[in-house]
Symmetry: C2
């Protein structure tokens, strides 16, 4: 590698801004002091002095923590620490057009992993009422759609309901976020492929089958996705 | 509900800052204009004019996007859109002390779901070398640790290696983030409970068993966690 290449490598380094550093220091500070949700943060003046930074830089860092849902401004009480919305920032960046290909593939596999793993919690929490609702969804989808976007709509409806049935709101929201990525990758297929086990088959397994029979059904339902995974 | 209560309800509403709004508008703008990683953003002057905001507010919003890894500042080229680090902000907020209890429980279950679902990808990607490495880890853990923190260290080593074996870096990183939460909840148990299937049993299943036998083994390994899940 010549000096020319080295020069290019050096140019690639991005700037680390003051806000990056102050944000990190603030996060460390909050952890070290064992701040808990509801606790009031020190005043801006005290923070700028402790961190040795300007008010503008501090505000930039605080703004980031506000974005993460880690701090809130309350009337009269000022800034307090709050329980962060852990999926909020993930939602902001979940855009198939800007995420790199390797990560898109990872997310695709992550969703398959969740589908295969949720039988355990589903069998603990499923209710008769939920299964009836799922059946209604599956029956309304009886005709196999030829258009890819309809097929994805069906997937969202059906699998979304299954996630809801787990009673796990974080998982449900996470899956909703993963679907555009999934749809983006599946949309690239020319011919829609339907698994050997249909949505209505899955409902019947959920009604009468064991946890493991349901899981085997789900595997067959997703088989064409698994077949495409690279070693 | 009297006026008194209503008054309190109104106080609970947090301020929505200008930066919140400008950040949202910027995200929308980038999507609408189909910006792709590598594309240069318009100059600050143009953005402040288009959005009708002050330079300070714009900078605050841009700082947030920089935090999400969505924009980078490059020498000579200025700000360019980049592929976001999708787990970066999740990492910042994954702190068991500030996350609310319902979400902690959700994350606990999410990790169990991943463990149960990863057999499929693991069986596509596992190599002899990886299994040997996993076996080394399991053998070095032969004595059951009585102290909880040692037990968690073993869990991290062993299960972390399994995630690495899936070849899915996002999933691996995600699991690393979930572990402090898992550890936090498990730490509250007084007596460490060991599943009927040990780490070394899992290695042997991975060597000689089918995907489904491995999964059943994993289920038994995690059985005491599943038993505690509420209907």
């Amino acid at each position: 590698m010549g000096i020319g290449n080295l020069h290019i490598d050096i140019e690639k380094v991005s700037y680390k801004t003051m806000a990056d550093e102050v944000e990190m220091k603030l996060l460390e500070y909050l952890k070290k002091q064992s701040f808990k949700p509801g606790d009031a943060l020190p005043k801006e003046m005290e923070l700028t002095e402790a961190l040795g930074v300007s008010r503008n830089v501090l505000r930039e860092a605080l703004s980031r923590l506000r974005m993460l849902g880690m701090i809130e401004t309350k009337k009269r009480r000022g800034m307090v620490l709050s329980s962060p919305d852990i999926l909020g920032s993930l939602e902001r960046v979940m855009d198939p057009l800007i995420i790199d290909d390797a990560t898109l593939q990872d997310i695709f596999e992550l969703r398959l992993t969740l589908e295969m793993g949720l039988a355990d919690i589903l069998y603990i929490r499923k209710t008769k009422k939920d299964i009836e609702e799922l059946e209604k969804i599956a029956l309304s989808q009886k005709t196999t759609p030829t258009k890819q976007n309809f097929r994805i709509k069906h997937e969202v409806e059906f699998h979304g309901k299954i996630y809801q049935m787990t009673g796990n709101r974080t998982m449900q929201r996470f899956q909703t976020m993963l679907l555009p990525i999934f749809g983006h990758l599946v949309n690239e297929e020319k011919v829609p492929i339907v698994g050997k086990v249909s949505h209505i088959d899955l409902v019947n397994l959920l009604k009468n089958g064991t946890r493991e029979q349901f899981r085997e059904g789900m595997r067959k339902h997703l088989e064409h996705h698994f077949k495409k995974l690279k070693k």
